[in-house]
Structure formats: structure tokens, C-alpha cells
């Protein structure tokens, strides 16, 4: 039976249902055990993904290949780390309800479905399965006005994006006669020209996906939601869903619509350039760290899309490596943000980091590592991420992209380095930040070491990304 191919998703779904069931039974607080159970489920799913066979299943709705395995493992790791960030924070902020880990689990399930989607129907299914928990999570601190506002904004705009995607899918179906990726690809390969209807439909689909990765001009929700949502939620938003949505975008564009590359390419180039520019410039004036990270993530998506825009295996490999490194930089940086507390209250301004180099050298060091890595300073991992996409752009002859990429990363370096400067050269206020709890320290150290050590052992990651890219491009 072919459905066994989807075993990781099935197991994860069952785990989710079981945890949901068990979670309601005891009267007392079950946040921590449930979170642990979810983490375990995510890791179990990751193991299953690694042992997964390749092929198409469920009447062509579902595909498993090296690309999906790589991206799924990455998304699962991102989700698990994101959940770890919430452990201490949620308890202190009285958000320690057991639904939180369950929401994370179902969102992650949605991601996996997205990554493995082989039909526009399963794309939509996965996307909605991801989006609905995210809306709830954004508003999870429901007593706080800005959290509720964030959730509502995200929901309204997300609904709009979903609508666009669905409308696009229906256009494609109407003009091409199928929603299955393989058959779409065959159809476009067979006929000479494509009808404008398909093309318009494709743009709508791209818009829906661009919303999830918060690429310009579908990014508008990002700063508000990132700022309003509880910090661990923001951390989760910034990592795992981006992986899934980028993977899906890559699969859609390079799979069924590969023959239309000449048409969609210019749109991706534009999105990439606009994202890089906005990510670099808009963050300069930000004082709120979460807002700053929102713009930073927009910029990073721009760089990652550069790999997609050049339409080559080198470019796709660059994208895969970039997003992987991005997850580790981002989770690490958010671990520091989550850990920022003064006198029991969470703080999130850049000035709150002042003097951290003296009051908490370890945390300051890790933050500096993440900031340097994000700025793309060698020998940290972020440099290699940028290096591979820039290389791909240069090899493909996309000089404009590469030059804009370099220039914007120079501009972006300003606000990353400003954080380092604030940490090491500014006077600390009277009350120092509290010590980071162990769970966060572990995440910081793990991701920090990854950023530091990547330059020493880049080969496994590059090889895996190469295989994944090859699988997608056939």
C-alpha cells in the first residue's frame, strides 16, 4: 500500500490527537509534559522521515523524495527548537497551556504536508493546516491587546492570501484541466504556448505562498505580527514555516511550472530584490528587536529567493543551504530575545541589551555570533549561506541580483553590528538582564556552535543539499 509512504505525517497526526486527548484529562498543569511529548513526536517524525522511501502516493497527492526529506527534517528541527524556546517563557508569562505544544505539532504537520504536496489540493490543505494554528498562536496571549491584534491581522491577511491562492489554483485547473503536478508538468511540456489564464493563476498561487514567507510586497503583516505575538511564537514563525513555504514555492515553480520559468522568473527576481532592499533599509531605524528581526527575516528571504530566481541546480542548492543556515541563526538570535528579562518582565528594545557584554558575557557572545552570522561575516555560517547564493547568481550571469545582494548586506550589516556595539560599548543600566534559563542557554549554545563550526565541516550539509536539489530538478 502506497499510503505507508506518508507514515511520518500519519504518525505525527496520531501523536497529536493522542496528546490532545491526554492533555485534557488531568486537572493540573500539563504544559511541560505535553511540550516534551510533542518534542518527542517531532523527533520521532524526523527519524521516520529519514527512513522514508521515495515515491508518489495517495493517488498522486503526495510525493516523497530527497528534497522533501531534507526540508522536512529541517522544519521539524526548527519546530522542536522553537518549542524549546517557549518552555520557560510561557510558564513565566502564564501562557503555559498545553494547547500550545499541540498547536505547534499541527502546524508542523501542515508544513510536512506542504513540503510533500504533489497536487494543488494538497498544497492548500497543508497551507491551511499550517495557517490555522499560527493564527491562534499569534493571539495566544489573548489578554494582551497587541497579541490579539497580531492574531487578527494575521488572520485577515492570511485569509486574503489563502483566497488568492485558491483563486489561482482554480484558474490553473480551469485552463489546464488538472491540479496534479505531474500532469501539469506533462501538459505544459507537451503544448507550445500556455494560455494567459494559467499564467495569471500561477501569479496568484505565488502571491499566496509569498505571503507565508513574507516576501515583499506580501510582507506587510510581518513587522506587526512579529512585534505583537509572544516572543517564542515569533521565533517559531520566523523559522519553521518559512522552510515549508520556501520548499513549497520551489517545488511548485520548479516542478509543474518549470517550463514557464521564463515567465515567473522575472517575478521572483523582482520579489527577491524588493525583499532584500526593504529588509536592509527598513530595519535601520528600528528600536524594537522583534520588529528589527521581522525586517531582517524579510531580507533573508530575499537572499534565499535569489537562489530560486537564477533557476539552476546551483541556485537551488544555494537556497536550500541558505534556509538551513537561516533557521539556526534565527532560532539562536530569538533564544537571546526570549531570554531578555529585567526584573521579571520581558523586554525587547535594542537599548535593553546595553552592557550585556559585561553583565552576561556568554549570552552577549552568542548574540554577537548570531549577529555577525546574519550580517554575513566570515567565517560564520551566515557568510557561507550568502556566498552560495551569490555564487549561483554570478555563475548564472545575474549580476544585478548579486550586486544588490552585496550592497544590501552591507547596509544590513549596520543594524546587526549596532546590536553588537550596544552590547559591548554602551553603559549597562542599573538593573542587569536576568540570567538565561538553562533551556535557552542550551539552544543558544547549540545554534551558536553550529554557526561557528559550519566553516569547518560544511561538506555534509552541502552534499545533502546537493542531493535534495538534484531530486527536485530531476
Amino acid at each position: 500500500m502506497a499510503w505507508t509512504l506518508a507514515l511520518p505525517e500519519l504518525v505525527l497526526a496520531l501523536c497529536g490527537l493522542a496528546i490532545l486527548l491526554i492533555g485534557v484529562l488531568p486537572k493540573r498543569d500539563t504544559f511541560f509534559p505535553m511540550a516534551m511529548a510533542v518534542t518527542g513526536s517531532l523527533l520521532l517524525a524526523a527519524v521516520l522521515v529519514l527512513g522514508q522511501q521515495e515515491g508518489v502516493a495517495l493517488n498522486g497527492l503526495y510525493v516523497a523524495d530527497s528534497f522533501s526529506s531534507f526540508m522536512k527534517v529541517l522544519a521539524l528541527i526548527g519546530a522542536a527548537l522553537g518549542l524549546l524556546l517557549a518552555l520557560d517563557y510561557n510558564t513565566r508569562e502564564r501562557l503555559n497551556r498545553f494547547e500550545y505544544p499541540v498547536l505547534v505539532l499541527f502546524a508542523t504537520l501542515g508544513m510536512m504536508v506542504m513540503i510533500s504536496a504533489n497536487d494543488l489540493m494538497s498544497v492548500y490543505l497543508g497551507l491551511e493546516l499550517l495557517s490555522l494554528p499560527l493564527y491562534v498562536m499569534a493571539a495566544f496571549d489573548r489578554d494582551a491587546g497587541r497579541s490579539a491584534e497580531a492574531g487578527l491581522k494575521y488572520f485577515v491577511l492570511g485569509a486574503l492570501a489563502s483566497g488568492l491562492l485558491l483563486y489561482g489554483a482554480s484558474l490553473v485547473y480551469g485552463f489546464a484541466g488538472t491540479t496534479n503536478f505531474d500532469r501539469l508538468a506533462a501538459a505544459f511540456a507537451a503544448q507550445e504556448g500556455v494560455s494567459p489564464g494559467v499564467v495569471v493563476g500561477l501569479v496568484f498561487v505565488m502571491a499566496g505562498l509569498a505571503f507565508k514567507i513574507s516576501a515583499v510586497p506580501f510582507h506587510m503583516w510581518t513587522p506587526d505580527v512579529y512585534e505583537g505575538a509572544p516572543t517564542p511564537v515569533t521565533a517559531f514563525f520566523a523559522a519553521a514555516p518559512k522552510v515549508a513555504a520556501l520548499a513549497l514555492l520551489a517545488r511548485v515553480l520548479l516542478g509543474p511550472f518549470a517550463d514557464l520559468a521564463a515567465q515567473w522568473q522575472q517575478v521572483v527576481v523582482l520579489i527577491s530584490i524588493a525583499s532584500m532592499l526593504l529588509g536592509a533599509f527598513a530595519a535601520i531605524g528600528q528600536r524594537n528587536l522583534k520588529r528589527l528581526m521581522a525586517y531582517s527575516s524579510i531580507g533573508h528571504v530575499g537572499y534565499a529567493l535569489m537562489g530560486l530566481a537564477v533557476v539552476s541546480d546551483v541556485g537551488l542548492r544555494g537556497l536550500i543551504v541558505y534556509i538551513a543556515i537561516y533557521v539556526f541563526m534565527n532560532i539562536g538570535a530569538f533564544a537571546v530575545l526570549v531570554a531578555m528579562r529585567r526584573s521579571g518582565r520581558a523586554v525587547e528594545q535594542v537599548e535593553d541589551l546595553a552592557g550585556l557584554g559585561r553583565t552576561d558575557p556568554a549570552m552577549a557572545l552568542w548574540m554577537a555570533v548570531f549577529m555577525f552570522s546574519m550580517a554575513g561575516i566570515p567565517p560564520l555560517a551566515g557568510f557561507f549561506g550568502k556566498l552560495y547564493v551569490f555564487l549561483a547568481a554570478v555563475q548564472g550571469g545575474y549580476w544585478t541580483l548579486a550586486v544588490i545582494g552585496v550592497l544590501t548586506s552591507v547596509v544590513a550589516a549596520y543594524y546587526y553590528l549596532r546590536i553588537v556595539k550596544v552590547m559591548y560599548f554602551d553603559q549597562p543600566p542599573e538593573a542587569a538582564l536576568e540570567r538565561a534559563p538553562p533551556s535557552l542557554s542550551v539552544v543558544m549554545a547549540t545554534t551558536g556552535l553550529f554557526n561557528l563550526a559550519f566553516c569547518l565541516f560544511p561538506a555534509p550539509m552541502l552534499a545533502a543539499a546537493g542531493i535534495a536539489a538534484a531530486a527536485l530538478l530531476g
Binding site: A161, M206, A207, F211, P217, F218
Partner: protein
Amino acid sequence: MLVGAVFFPLLGAAISGLFGRWIGDRVAQWSTVICMVLAAVCGIGAFAQVALGGQPTTVPIVTWMEVGGLEASWALRYDTLSAVMVMMVTFISTLIHLYSVGYMSHDATPYRFFAYLSLFTFMMLMLVTADNLAQLFFGWEGVGLASYLLIGYWYEKESANVAAMKAFIVNRVGDLFFMLGVALTFFVFGSIEFSIIFAAVPDRAQDIFLGVNALELIAVLLFLGACGKSAQIGLHTWLPDAMEGPTPVSALIHAATMVTAGVFLVCRMSPVFEFAPTALALVTVVGATTAFFAATVGCVQNDIKRVIAYSTCSQLGYMFFAAGVGAYQVAMFHLFTHAFFKALLFLGAGSVIHAMSDEQDIRKMGGIWTKIPITYVVMWIGSLALAGIPFFAGYYSKDAILEAAFAAHSPVGMYAFILGLAAAFLTAFYSWRLLILTFHGAPRADAHTMEHVHESPWVMLFPLLVLAAGAIGVGYLFYPLFIGAHEQAFWQGSVFTGPDNHILHDMHEVPGWVPIAPAAIGLAGIALAYVMYMIAPELPGRLASRFRGLYLFLLNKWYFDELYDALFVRPARRLAEVFWKVGDARIIDGMPNGAADLAVQASRGAVRMQTGRVANYAFAMIIGLVIFVSLFLIGFVR
């Protein structure tokens, strides 16, 4: 032994410089002194083996660089020329290290001083034992560096810093020519190794470069480089200012060794110079002019060290014109004797300064000869040697130089001879002016200083006595070897003289009055000084007011500094100001600042779009979608 002579000072410098802070001042000082003593023993041994024993040799150490056709190795070229220099440098340097132990006893960081001093010695030895021009240049720059560090040793003093920079920059001007000379040498000969160059010189004698004889051009360029290091007229301005350094430094670097590097270079490159008669004439004229010019300035200076500094400048001029008329051996001989008596004079002056509580103005001294008799006596000996009074060291060498100039039988030779004689007169005059003003007459210092006048400790007096013995004896002892009967066996061709160059022979055949003239004129100078400063002390003042123009002209050192200030320094500063204010501040800084402003404004614009209203956001999404769809369709239609 040959290697030890060169590398012991480096060892000393390393010990003192790197570990001086931990091992303490005393250990650091004495370890450098011991290293120097070992080096001196090796140096004398090397001299005995190479020059006296007649075994010139080259000690290869390691290949330094191999770039295309350019190959340079570290190797110690020991022939008589370098052996003489090695012995002289290590010997004098050892004495000066010893002297410094006493002189610098009140200093805060003596280990730094000793490290620099030893480093300098190493660099100088590197220079003189170089086997190729690149290594020589290494030593050349190295002594320049050490000189800079030592002149500016008291870096809290503004004047010391200024002087150090001046010395370095003026030297750079000379170095530029030197580098051009090296480059041209490589261009012409395809090598910078001495042995290859010297062997190829006769074949290249007719080469033309840019319409000029290539060898002439090389010789002129190298000589201009030598001018910088040896403070010849035009590039001499740094030397008097270099007296800002501690006195032992002046004695070692700015009298006995480093400044003679230029003379050494000319002698070392004698095979090239011998084929460049025009360059040699230039050397003669510049040397003679410097000898005279510096002597005139020396007559009116009031700082005890500056007087001796100008005297050094003048004596270097002698050496150059001796080389210029082809008597390289004579130039080396004067270099050798001069090292002894000039180091003696400087150290003596240091002893006086030490006694006078750091007073350097001779107008504020006087009447102290009974209080510091040993210093007084050695200063006399040094001055007698400097003035060329018979049977002191300077007599043999200076006499020989003037004879050689006369024997050249050429217009430039005669020019050099006449100026040389005049300079000899002035030399004697200012030496005794110095002696008389410093030691005789009524005390002009305040009573407090006079109370403290004391003889220096033995660690300082011992080097003085050794050098005094040298100032008396080396001329007589080494005369036969350097320029006398055994001259050919001694030099063994390390100094090249062309087939038509019989100057060493001719100089013994000059008319009878020529050898006597310098001594006689020297005595006349002494007599004049005696009259002017002992018998009629009011005379100098009257002369100065009578010939005010001339006096000021000399006092201001022929206005060289002012001239350079107006010609180079101020225009350069003005240019730099323009570059700074317009080029850098406005244009170069302007671009990034403007870009940064632009970035900030772009940021404001981007943030303004973020209104916080969902409707606006949705609108932006739709507009974006519309744009993409139209783009898509346009692309599609196309």
C-alpha cells in the same frame, strides 16, 4: 665566529627588548653588554682572520627570496672592507654600551634603550656584511629605523619626536634614490649580488639607459642615497637635530657608525664608481662643499653636541671627497680613525653634560676643567685628533685625504683640496672654541649647577680612556695597512681601483709643503681660537655684531631648514590640507556619509508604509499582485 659577530647583538636586543620588562633593568643591560663583548671578540677575530690572515670568505645563511630573476640570499660577505667595519662597529658599540650603563642609570626604561642600541648594532653589521644590495638595503633601512627609535627615545619630548621624524623623512628622500639605484642595477646587471655585478662591470661600461651612461646613473643614484644617510649637504639637515637623542646614541649612530654607511656604500661599490668618472666628480664636489659648509656652521653653534654634529658632517665630507678622487682606502682610513675620536668627543661631551646637570649650552659652562680632569684630558685628545695635529689619529688620515685631493691633479681635486684646507682651519678653530668655552674662563653656570659638577663614574670613564688611546694610536698603527706599504696585501682587492688610478702612489709624491699644510693650518686655527676666546673674549661679540649678516647666515646654518620649509614642507602641508579638507573630508567622506543619509531616509520611507492598518496592508498585497500579473502578461504577450 664570523656569524657570531653579527648575531650576538641581535640576541642581546631580543633578550633585552622582549624580556626586559620581566628580567629587570640590570640583567637586561648587562646581558646586552655581554653579548656585545662577545660580538666584539668575534669581530676582532674576524678582522684578524679575514684582513690580516688574508682569507676573505662568504658565509651563506639562507635564501631570502627568489622572485623571477631576482634572487637574494642572506649571506655574510667577509672581505677586508667588511671586516674593518665589523671590527670597528662591534668594538665601538661595545664601549658605548658600557658607557650607557652609566649614562642611562637614571632612566626609566633602560632595557628599551639597550634593546634599540643592540638592534642598531645588528642592523649596521647586516649592512656592512651584506652580500647583495637587497640585504644591504635591509640593513640600511634597519639602521634608519633604529636611529629613528633612538632619536625619539625620549618620546615625551616634543622636540625629540620632531627630530626623529625629520631624520626618518630626510633619510627616506635619500632612500628613494638608493632604491632607484638598486632597481637600475638589477635592470642593467640582472642581479643584485655583488660578486656578479663586480664581475660584469667592465662589460657594461658602455651601456646606455635613457640616454645616459647606465653606470654613471647607478653611481649617482647610489651616491644620492648615501648623501641621505651620511648627511651630505642638501640632505644634512636631520643630523644636527638628531642630537635630541641620548648622547651615547649620538656617539654611536650619528658619529661613528651609521652616518659612515654612505661612505662605506661608495667604497663597496667602488668597482662601479671607478667606471663612472662624472659621478666621482660629483662625489668630490659634494663632499668638499659639505666639509667646508659644515665647518663654517660649526664655528658659531652654541650647543656642545651640535658643534660636534656639524664637525661630523664636515668630516664625512672629507671622506666623500677622498673617495671621489679615487682614494677609497684613504676614505676608509679616515672613517676608521674618525670613529674613534668622534665617539670619544661625543662621549666626552656626554660626560660634560652629565657633570653639568644636563646643560648643553657652552655659553653656560666654563671653568670646570679642574673639576672633571679626566674628561678634560680626553676631550683634548679627541680635539687634537680631530684637528689633525701630528701623530694623533686624525693627522694621518686627514693629511692623506688632502694629499690625495692634491694629487688628483684635476680641477675638482683642487677645489676639494682648497676647501679641505679651509675646513681644516675652521675645524681646529671650532674645536678649541668648544674646549675653551666649555672648560676654561670664569664659570658661567649658576652656583647650584657648579656645586654638582662631578667626574663621571668609572663605567663611563673606562670607555673614554679606551677611545682616547684609540684616538692617539690607531692612526699610527694602521697607517701602513690601510694606505701605506702593505696596502695591497691588506685590502686584497675588496676595494677596487681602476688600472689608471694611481692616486695612492701619487699622493706620496706631492710637493713638500702639502703634507705640512694641514697641520700648520690646524695650529693656526687653534691659535686664533685661543686669541679670540682666552685672550680677548670680547672679540667674538664684536665680530658678530660687525659682520652681523654673515654671523646670522652661519648661525642659521645657511638657512637650509628655512629653505626646505618654504620649498617642501609648507607646500606639502598646504597640499595635504587641500587633500584633507576637500579630497577626504568632502569627497571621500562625503560619499559614504551621503549614502548613509540616503539609507536613513529610505528607512523612514519604508517604515512610513507600515501604517498598522489591515486595509492598507491588503491594498499593498493587491497592488503587488496587479503589478506582477501585468508584468507577467506583458512578458507573455512579448
